[in-house]
C-alpha cells in the first residue's frame, strides 16, 4: 500500500486508478497534508500504528510527530484541542478510532465547536472523521451510525460518502472548509468497494446530492453502505420493469433539498433507505421536506427502509435481521411502485 516514503500508490504520474474506499481516505489526508502545512492529524493510534484501520498509514513517516499526533484515549481532549488549534488557523483532522466513541466528545462538538461561529465569530475549520456503520459483526458499540445526533446540531456539516471518488473529494473539501465537518466512513466499504479516482487534485462539493441512476417510477434516496444495496435493488426492479431513480445524498447537513424535491416531482414516489435506526432518522426529515415542498406531487406514501429501533445486535443472524438490505429495499420499492 504505502511506498517507501509513505506516498500513495496513486502517484500523479500513473493517471486515474482503481483504489479502495480506505485508500481514497488515506490519499485525501496525505495529499491535503502535503499541500497545506496547517493540516494536522490527531487521534488514538494514528501515528506509529497508522490508525486502527490503517487509514493513516505512512503519514507519521512523512509528516512527523508534530503533525501526526498520537493521543491518550480522551475523545473530548482530542476534539477540544483540535478546536483550539483551529483558532490559530490550523486545520486539524481528528480521528475517532471507531465513530461510536464520538459521543464521548458530544459536549465538545455540539456546544463548543458547533456554536462558536454563530456566537462569537470564531470559525473552527476542523474535521472529525472515523469508521462507522454495521454489517461487520462489530456489535452494539462498534457499529454505530450516530450521524443524526449531529445533523440536529446547527453549525456542523455532516458527510457520509459511498464511493472512493466521493470519499476522497469530499474529505478534501472538508479539510478546506472553514467550518467543522463530521465525516463518516462506512467501514463495510473500506476494503470491499473500489473505484476510479483521477490522478489530479479534485474536490467534491459539500451539500450536493448526486443522481446515481435515473428512473421515472420512484425515487430511492440513500447514502453510505445502503447506497450500494439500493443500487442492487434498482437492478432487480429494472428486471420487473420498474425504473427507480437512485440518489446518493452524500451530505446530510446541509441537505440538498433541491435535488430531492426535483426528483420526487418527477417520479411522484419516494423511498428512503438508511442504515440508521428508524425513529429520528433522516427519512423523517425528508418526509417533512416533501410534505412542505412537494405535497401535491406525491402519489403514494413516503416509505422508509431502515434499521430496527434497537441497538445493533451482535449475532450475525440478529444483525442481518436488524439491518436493511437490497432484498428489503426491493420488496418495499416494488410495493410502492404498485401503489
Amino acid at each position: 500500500m504505502a511506498g517507501g516514503n509513505g506516498a500513495p500508490t496513486n502517484g500523479s504520474a500513473t493517471g486515474g486508478t482503481q483504489i479502495t474506499f480506505l485508500e481514497a481516505i488515506r490519499q485525501a489526508m496525505f495529499e491535503e497534508m502535503e499541500r497545506d502545512p496547517t493540516v494536522l492529524l490527531i487521534g488514538e493510534d494514528v501515528g506509529v500504528y497508522g490508525g486502527a484501520f490503517k487509514t493513516s498509514e505512512g503519514l507519521l513517516e512523512r509528516f512527523g510527530w508534530e503533525r501526526v499526533i498520537d493521543t491518550p484515549i480522551s475523545e473530548s481532549a482530542i476534539v477540544g484541542a483540535a478546536c483550539g488549534m483551529s483558532y490559530l488557523g490550523l486545520r486539524p483532522i481528528c480521528e475517532m478510532q471507531f465513530i461510536d466513541f464520538i459521543v464521548c466528545a458530544f459536549n465538545q462538538i455540539t456546544n463548543f465547536v458547533a456554536k462558536g461561529h454563530y456566537l462569537w465569530n470564531a470559525p473552527a475549520p476542523m474535521v472529525i472523521r472515523g469508521p462507522s456503520g454495521g454489517g461487520v459483526h462489530g456489535g452494539p458499540f462498534h457499529s454505530a451510525n450516530p450521524e443524526m445526533y449531529f445533523v440536529h446540531t446547527p453549525g456542523l456539516k455532516v458527510i457520509y460518502p459511498s464511493t472512493p471518488y466521493d470519499a476522497k473529494g469530499l474529505l478534501k473539501a472538508a479539510v478546506r472548509d472553514n467550518n467543522p465537518v463530521l465525516f463518516f466512513e462506512h467501514k463495510f466499504l473500506y476494503r470491499r468497494i473500489k473505484g476510479d479516482v483521477p490522478a489530479e487534485d479534485y474536490t467534491v462539493p459539500i451539500g450536493k446530492a448526486v443522481v446515481r441512476r435515473e428512473g421515472q417510477h420512484l425515487t430511492i434516496l440513500s447514502y453510505a453502505a445502503m447506497m450500494h444495496s439500493s443500487l442492487e435493488a434498482a437492478d432487480g426492479l429494472a428486471k420487473e420493469g420498474i425504473e427507480a431513480e437512485v440518489i446518493d445524498l452524500r451530505t446530510l447537513l446541509p441537505l440538498d433539498e433541491q435535488t430531492i424535491v426535483n426528483s420526487v416531482k418527477k417520479t411522484n414516489k419516494c423511498l428512503v433507505v438508511h442504515e440508521d435506526t428508524k425513529t429520528g432518522g433522516i427519512a423523517g426529515e425528508i418526509a417533512a421536506i416533501l410534505f412542505e415542498k412537494a405535497f401535491q406531487d406525491l402519489d403514494g406514501p413516503l416509505v422508509r427502509v431502515t434499521a430496527l429501533d434497537t441497538p445493533v445486535p451482535y449475532a450475525p443472524t440478529l444483525e442481518e435481521y436488524f439491518l436493511p438490505n437490497a432484498r428489503k429495499v426491493f420488496t418495499a420499492a416494488k410495493e410502492l411502485a404498485r401503489y
Partner: protein, 422 residues
C-alpha cells in the same frame, strides 16, 4: 509542589495591579446597579473577593499570550484590554456587544487582537481547548503560553482530567489556575473533593503545581509569572491552586444562606483590595491623593462606558438568523501566523521513522525501580534475578506484594482480560 521565588516589581506594576483590581470591582459594582434596574438580561455573577486571582494571573502574561476566562474572570478580561463597555453590553444583550446579543456574560472572545477564547457554560471544556491553542502555537513557532481558570467544582469534570492529562503528555505551554473559593454553588469543597489541597490533582498528571494565597495579588502575580516563564521555557503545563472564598452567592439570585457566618466573616476581613491598599500605603506606593485620583479616573471611565452601553440598541429580531457557517466573506479570516520555517514541518525535513523510542528503557528508572511491585521490564531488579537463578523459577516480585495478593491480582487480571473482548 513548588514555591514561587519572590521577585521585585516596578512601581508601575504595583500600581497596575491595584488599578485593575479596582477596575474589576467597580465594573462589577456597576453591573449590580444595572441588574437592580432590570437592565441585565440574564444572571449576574460576581468575583467579589477573588479579584486578585483574575488580575494577578492575567497580568503575568505577555501580550501575545492567550486566555480563556471563566465567568468570575472579568478582571482577566480587563487586564487583557477589553473595554468595560463590552462587558456591560454583553450582560445587557446589546447589538454593539462583541456577540451582538447572541450570547451574554463573559462569553465572548477575540481571535485577532487580544487572543481571548470565549468560554461556554460547560465547566472544564476550556482546558483541552487551551491545551490545543498552546500546542498549535508551539507548532507555528509562536512561543505563546495559554491560560485558563477553573473552579474547585469544575475540577471534578471528566474533561478537566482529559484536558490536563493530554496537555501534560504534550508538555503544552499551558497554565491552569484553579480558584478554590470553597464552594461550588451550594456544595462545599469538602463534599466535592476528598483532598486538602486541590493542587495535589497535578500529581496525577506528573506536572508541577503551586499553592498561593488567592487574596494576595502580589503572591498570585509572582506565582503565575514563574509558572508562565516555566511553561514558555518548555517545562509543560503547570497547575496553580489559589485559595480564596466566594463572598456572594453563586449568582445574584442566591443569598447563599448555606455559608456559615463565621466563614464569611473570616474572609471579609481578608478582602484582597483592602489588604493590598494597606501594603501599598506601608510601602509608600499609594497615598490618599493617589487613591482619590484613581477613584475619579474610574468614575469618569465607567460613567462613559455605561452610558455608551445603555445607549446601544437591542439586536434586530431577524439577526437571530444566519451566521451559522463561516462562508469566507463575512467572517473572521482564517490564517496561520507562522513564526518558524515551514520547511521544518514539511517533507523531507518532517520525515521520521514511525517507531516509538522509549527513553530510559533498561536504565532502571522507568517503573519505580526494583522495589516496584510490577515491572515494565525496564528495571534490572537484581533481587529477582538472583532468586530466579537459584530456584530456577520466578521469585515473588517484591516485599509489598504478598503471595496471596499476587495470586489475587493475577486472577483478577485474567478475569478482566476474559471480559474485555475488544
Amino acid at each position: 509542589m513548588t514555591k514561587a521565588m519572590p521577585r521585585e516589581l516596578t512601581r508601575q506594576q504595583y500600581l497596575d495591579l491595584y488599578y485593575y483590581m479596582r477596575l474589576n470591582r467597580t465594573v462589577e459594582e456597576t453591573m449590580v446597579k444595572l441588574f437592580r434596574q432590570n437592565k441585565i438580561v440574564g444572571g449576574l455573577y460576581s468575583s467579589l473577593g477573588q479579584e486578585a486571582i483574575s488580575v494577578g494571573s492575567c497580568y503575568a502574561l505577555d501580550k501575545k499570550d492567550w486566555i480563556a476566562p471563566m465567568i468570575r474572570n472579568i478582571g482577566a478580561l480587563l487586564v487583557k484590554g477589553v473595554p468595560p463597555r463590552d462587558i456591560f453590553m454583553q450582560h445587557m444583550a446589546k447589538y454593539d456587544s462583541p456577540t451582538k446579543g447572541r450570547d451574554g456574560t463573559s462569553h465572548f472572545g477575540d481571535l485577532d487582537n487580544l487572543h481571548i477564547v470565549s468560554p461556554i457554560s460547560m465547566l472544564g471544556d476550556l482546558i483541552p481547548v487551551m491545551a490545543g491553542v498552546a500546542i498549535g502555537g508551539r507548532y507555528l513557532g509562536q512561543k505563546i503560553v495559554t491560560m485558563t481558570w477553573i473552579g474547585d467544582g469544575g475540577s471534578s469534570t471528566g474533561v478537566f482530567h482529559e484536558g490536563l492529562n493530554f496537555a501534560a503528555t504534550q508538555k503544552a505551554p499551558f497554565v491552569l489556575i484553579l480558584e478554590n473559593n470553597l464552594w461550588a454553588y451550594s456544595t462545599p469543597v469538602r463534599r466535592q473533593v476528598p483532598l486538602e489541597n486541590l493542587a495535589d490533582r497535578a500529581r496525577a498528571y506528573g506536572i508541577d503545581s503551586y499553592i498561593v494565597d488567592g487574596n494576595n495579588v502580589v503572591a498570585v502575580y509572582n506565582t503565575a509569572r514563574e509558572a508562565v516563564e516555566r511553561a514558555r521555557a518548555g517545562e509543560g503545563p503547570i497547575l496553580i491552586e489559589a485559595k480564596t472564598f466566594r463572598r456572594l452567592g453563586h449568582a445574584q439570585h442566591d443569598p447563599a444562606e448555606y455559608v456559615p457566618k463565621e466563614m464569611r466573616a473570616y474572609w471579609e476581613a481578608r478582602d484582597p483590595i483592602a489588604l493590598y491598599e494597606k501594603f501599598l500605603t506601608a510601602e509608600k506606593l499609594l497615598d490618599a491623593a493617589g487613591k482619590k485620583e484613581i477613584d475619579e479616573r474610574l468614575d469618569t471611565l465607567l460613567t462613559a462606558e455605561r452610558e455608551f452601553a445603555e445607549n446601544s440598541p437591542m439586536p434586530p429580531p431577524e439577526f437571530a438568523e444566519g451566521g451559522i457557517y463561516c462562508t469566507g466573506d463575512d467572517c473572521h479570516k482564517i490564517r496561520a501566523k507562522w513564526e518558524r520555517a515551514i520547511a521544518e514541518v514539511t517533507p523531507p525535513k518532517s520525515s521520521v521513522k514511525p517507531v516509538w523510542t522509549v527513553p530510559g528503557f533498561g536504565s532502571g528508572k522507568g517503573s519505580g525501580g526494583a522495589g516496584a511491585p510490577i515491572h515494565f521490564g525496564d528495571t534490572p531488579a537484581p533481587a529477582i534475578m538472583e532468586k530466579a537463578g537459584e530456584n530456577g523459577r520466578r521469585a515473588k516480585p517484591a516485599k509489598t506484594t504478598g503471595k496471596n495478593a499476587t495470586k489475587k491480582a493475577m486472577k483478577a487480571a485474567a478475569g478482566a482480560s476474559r471480559k474485555a473482548r475488544r
